[in-house]
């Protein structure tokens, strides 16, 4: 990706698809990860400088009853949207904080696919 592509990403109507591979080992170097274990919320700034919150659909969401409401590919009313999302999670699966070996236990999770879809509303050009 070139710098001009980087700038064009923010222009309206620019379709952008990017993919890459990374070493999972990097996820274990938590001290050097600046974006790990941070909750994000996404907003769109409209023409009047208002912040419009963007709903987030986590495909792998599992509820307390072990159901997966977002697993299907087609949109349905039973899907659960959220506001916050995380890119890299290295601590939520660690059960014991005091154990010195805790960094050897549990799982690391990462967002392996992020899709932003903007649907135009014919009745509201903004």
């Amino acid at each position: 990706m070139q710098f001009s592509d980087e700038l064009n990403q923010k222009k309206f109507g620019t379709v952008n698809v990017a993919s890459c591979n990374f070493y999972l080992n990097d996820l274990l170097k938590e001290d050097s990860l600046t974006n790990a274990n941070i909750f994000y919320e996404m907003f769109i700034v409209d023409g009047e400088d208002r912040l419009i919150d963007v709903p987030v659909l986590v495909k792998d969401l599992r509820l307390a009853d072990d159901s997966k409401p977002n697993a299907g590919s087609a949109m349905s009313d039973s899907m659960v949207f959220s506001r916050r999302f995380i890119v890299i999670d290295t601590i939520s699966s660690v059960s014991t904080v005091t154990n010195k070996l805790f960094k050897q236990e549990g799982y690391v999770r990462w967002a392996n696919s992020i899709q932003i879809k903007v649907e135009l509303d014919p009745s509201a050009p903004e």
Binding site: N21, V108, N112
Partner: protein, 153 residues
């Protein structure tokens, strides 16, 4: 925004473990209302096509009564019915395809504000393109057969 996560046991991660990640940003317009309107128009145009086929075939039988054609009457009438069906149906449905495509394109080109995008290529708009391609193929086949029937008549 749609996110999928992956997870891995820390103990299974070694220096060669690799994972692929992807990011995409796309803009699109919903063509469901347009497809509903075109489907209704398709049904109406088919009814119109049947009426036109009936009228044309009726005129043919009036101009060419069975008594005048003798023993080839049935064969000729079946041939003409088939010809009128292909000819009239393909012509009427062609104009449906033409005007529905033209209305989408003109709306897109004339819009001062971004209110409509043309259907993108690929899986997200496969439903729109598949329906269009199926009907277009049927029209082309029907029209080609009608022309060949006319030539060979």
């Amino acid at each position: 925004m749609i996110i999928s996560y992956k997870e891995e046991d820390r103990s299974r991660i070694d220096s060669s473990s690799v994972s692929a990640v992807s990011y995409s940003l796309e803009y699109f317009s919903s063509f469901d209302p347009t497809m509903r309107r075109v489907t209704i128009a398709f049904v109406i145009m088919n009814i119109l096509a049947f009426v036109v086929i009936g009228v044309r075939f009726s005129n043919y039988t009036l101009r060419n009564p069975k008594s005048a054609m003798k023993h080839e009457a049935v064969k000729n009438q079946v041939f003409k019915l088939f010809y009128h069906a292909l000819d009239s149906w393909s012509e009427i449905i062609f104009w449906l395809l033409f005007f529905s495509s033209a209305s989408i394109f003109i709306t897109f080109k004339l819009s001062a504000n971004p209110t409509l995008l043309l259907p993108e290529l690929g899986a997200p708009s496969e439903k729109v393109y598949a329906a269009f391609n199926v009907v277009l193929t049927m029209v082309l086949v029907a029209r080609s057969v009608a022309v060949l029937m006319r030539v060979g008549e």
